[in-house]
Amino acid sequence: MVPYLVAAWILVASLAKIVFQLSRKVTSVVPESCLLILLGLGLGGIVLAIAKKAEYQLEPNMFFFFLLPPIVLDSGYFMPSRLFFDNIGAILTYAVIGTLWNSFTTGVSLWGMQQAGLMDKGVEAGLMDFLLFGSLISAVDPVAVLAVFEEVHVNETLFIIVFGESLLNDAVTVVLYKVFNSFVEMGPAHVQVTDYVKGVASFFLVSLGGTAIGLLFAFLLALITRFTKRVRIIEPLFVFLIAYIAYLTAEMVSLSSILAVTFCGICCKKYVEANISRKSRTTVKYTMKTLASSSETIIFMFLGISAVDTSKWAWDTALVLGTLLFILLFRAVGVVLQTWVLNHFRLIPLDRIDQVVMSYGGLRGAVAFALVILLDRDKVKAKDYFVATTIVVVFFTVIVQGLTIKPLVKWLKVKRSDHHKPTLNEELHEHAFDHILAAVEDVVGHHGYHYWRDKWEQFDKKYLSQLLMRKSAYRIKDEIWDVYYKLNIRDAISFVDQGGHVLSAAKLTLPSMPSRTSVSESSVTNLLRESGSGARLDLQVIDTVRCRRDKEDAVMHHVLRGSLYKPRRRYKASYSRHFISPDKQERQDKEIFQQNMKRRLETFKSTKHNICSSKSKARLKKDVRKKKKNDALNSELPNGKPHRSVTWQETAPVTMMVNSEEEESDSSETEKEDDEGIVFVARATDEILQGKKTSSTGCPSHWGSLDICPSPCIIPPSPTLAEKELPWKGDQDSLAVYISSETTKIVPVDMKKAWNQSISSLESIASPTGVETGPHGKKLASPVLEEEPQSASPTMPEQRTCFQFPNHVAKSGRSQSDSSPESIEQQELQPLMVPEDHTRMSPSAGPSNSRWLIQFNRPTRL
């Protein structure tokens, strides 16, 4: 019955959220928390009307053990830690001194009111009771603050100060509450000086202890996630579990549990995010947000429902009004006083408007309510009054202040946070800043904030990260790199989003469209122009216009691919509890990433000359890495067969490949999901195999040929292995672009040369993704040229070029960038033209059927 009720309540609350969001107008004015409270009031009223008694209310135990932790964890984990620590001084001041100030002044003032006879005789409370009440009512509530401020979008500093305060004041609240509660229970007469001392001491114990527990568990969590490589599927669980255990541990030894979870979240994030796979990261993020959001929903709804229970109420107007007045007044006074002091130390002073928002944003919430419910009625005689007052205060702050804060912020023209996307330059400059400022502090000889931050970062880099991060992770864990990577992904996704339609349209405009030809030509010329001096495309290549037949064939391929491609995928469906097979989406991401880089580069014509050479090397590094094992063989052996045999007989190279593959994937994707365990190995093998084959024909590495398709009808006279592999293709050596089999990276052909150049730097391995995401477009041309001398049979470059570009151009007018999707598709198309049986026969095709490499390999066996 109980679980059912719980589920039902959650469902109701969630449905309510949907309903609220239906009306943008309402939610833009009224914060959701208000609506939820009102809904709770309504529901509570209905229950009351039906059952004649209030059945449900917010149980403190439920609140503290189940509802609060997710919210705190969420806020800790996603706390902008840099911002938080930049403002830690202000936050701590407000959280500690502000809360102390608020509770004492409120408590004493209320006591004064009572002494003055302004309150009802029923309010039987002494100074201690009022101080107790003051302590629970004065703490700013993280849940309420978050709920309201998230919708207001004030500037970051302001937000972090109010929000950080609400989180960190928990320690103060808990201590004050406990101390006064014990005083009240002992009776004021029995309180001795030592008790006060104990109270002060316990503050430090509770806050520092809570923080220490948080740090300890953060360390533990980071360490654990370092070793979850083989159990990716439960990675997210560790995050929640350990954070929760931290919370419970702190609670158990009566330390500040909120502090414990907050610091656990803040501190573990960096390492955990680096260690866990991308999927796990998404899972953690969503689960955390889901839990926090539903907890918040339930809390507010139950606040509303609890308020209906009038049996617990005892109303005293003077107390209620007095409390409201005092908390508002003293909060404002406290903020102004503290800010005045703080501004002497802050480099960016908080101005008057900030202070207004901070005072007004001091919302009280469910924590206060839960604490007041926890009071013992026998000891605290005025409990009913306190409950009523707390409910009113909470409702007032959440509803009235919550409703008005938005207009207020607008009216005061508070600096809003500008949600501009992070740019690479910004990130770079900020890093530069950090170093410059640290340096200037060094020069000046002032050991200030930057100095210590710098020191900490060095320590972190030297010891902590080494200990807590996987090798593969810390290698590339760098904020700049991170931003770079994210930007690329974002661009890529938006690009694909935009390009999707065009693409399909292109597919539909079918055979022998004159426009196509022209487009293709123009694209080639474009290419030439863009690649500038670096481009040494054969003029012949450009001018050759493919025969119509070829074009139609190519188009036909696309059509076929379009219609046949999907069913194949589906048949791969499998179920595993422990591993998630890489899905299409994931692969798509990778593809997009590659494409995107191309596109970015394309818009970046300016620096191309410079980039070209160096870049290609960079991008090639990876390949080179993989390749190095095989290289000796490759260069010696002109033809593919020996290689093949080598691959199969030698186990050593295979394992090597696996390693490199792993590294690469790790670095490139900040951990490519390697959920698939064994399959992984198999795939690597395939790659090798393929690599050898391709390389045998003079193609530098295992990259599949990309432009493959032009026309099946053109088969070079001498059937070398390469030609066997791709019957419709001339040979791959001359290909301008390659797709790596597993991640479909588009890489310029010029591997051999680049490899030669960079062989010295082979040792340095993990070249992250970005590396290969260079200006492919530019590359297209020059690589070809350089490659040509080496190529075994530079059969028909013209076709290739012509073929490649038309499609792209047709799609979005960007010649190069689009080439990648097309080619990828083409690549996928290949298998279709090959009987499936052949695939099966190939040894490599075993476990990793779904991989394209295999598809790639198939033709070889023909």
């Binding site: 530069a432 770079y484 970046f604």
Partner: protein
């Protein structure tokens, strides 16, 4: 302390020029003496004596900036061999926090000054443009603290950043248009919306204790 009178006058003068308080100037002067070994000027080698600076990845760029004549508000260009205390103060004044009572115009000027300092740091060949090569150098140095990021990736990051800069500053470029590098105007454009004045500052107070124990 025979020169105390002229000293205080000098300080007054410097305070007006650089915006530091006389107290701060005294602190800085002490530090300056310490660094230079009681010489009237500081040379590059003196910066080697600062142990904490050693691990700074862009150390050379920063030290360079101290001797960059463009930063010293001198009309001439190039590098100074040594800087005197006034120059030292001038450099430091780039890192002053904003003051509450600044009006829009001065704030803007202040901001520009700070940005110029930064720009000059990037523009190592003094041609008024941050070319790709220069940018790459900076990024490489920035990332040199991370032994696991190769030069190549630093390069691609620099390239990406350059591209971004080009797209911000020029917008959609024609195919054969060439983006030579980031000019100061472009640099300003890139920094729009970022409060540099809230970031690029150092506290110059309270350094007495530490300065002395060195």
């Amino acid at each position: 302390m025979g020169s105390s009178h002229s000293m205080s006058e000098e300080i007054q003068e410097l305070a007006e020029k650089t915006g530091f308080t006389s107290e701060q100037i005294e602190h800085l002067h002490r530090r300056f003496k310490q660094l230079s070994g009681d010489q009237p000027t500081i040379r590059k080698e003196h910066f080697d004596n600062i142990p904490d600076l050693e691990f700074n990845p862009i150390r050379s760029k920063i030290v360079h900036a101290f001797f960059d004549k463009r930063n010293l508000r001198q009309e001439s260009d190039g590098l100074a061999d040594e800087i005197n205390f006034e120059d030292f103060l001038t450099i430091m004044s780039y890192f002053r926090p904003i003051e509450m009572n600044m009006d829009e115009e001065r704030l803007d000027h202040f901001r520009k000054e700070k940005l110029k300092f930064l720009f000059h740091m990037y523009d190592s060949d003094h041609d008024g443009k941050i070319t790709l090569q220069e940018y790459r150098n900076v990024v490489e140095e920035l990332l040199s603290g991370n032994p696991h990021l190769e030069k190549e990736s630093a390069r691609s990051i620099a390239d990406g950043a350059m591209m971004e800069a080009a797209s911000i500053c020029v917008g959609q470029m024609e195919p054969d248009q060439v983006y030579e590098g980031i000019t100061f105007e472009d640099f300003l454009k890139m920094w729009q919306g970022i409060d540099i004045e809230t970031k690029m500052h150092v506290r110059f107070l309270n350094m007495e204790t530490i300065a002395q124990c060195h």
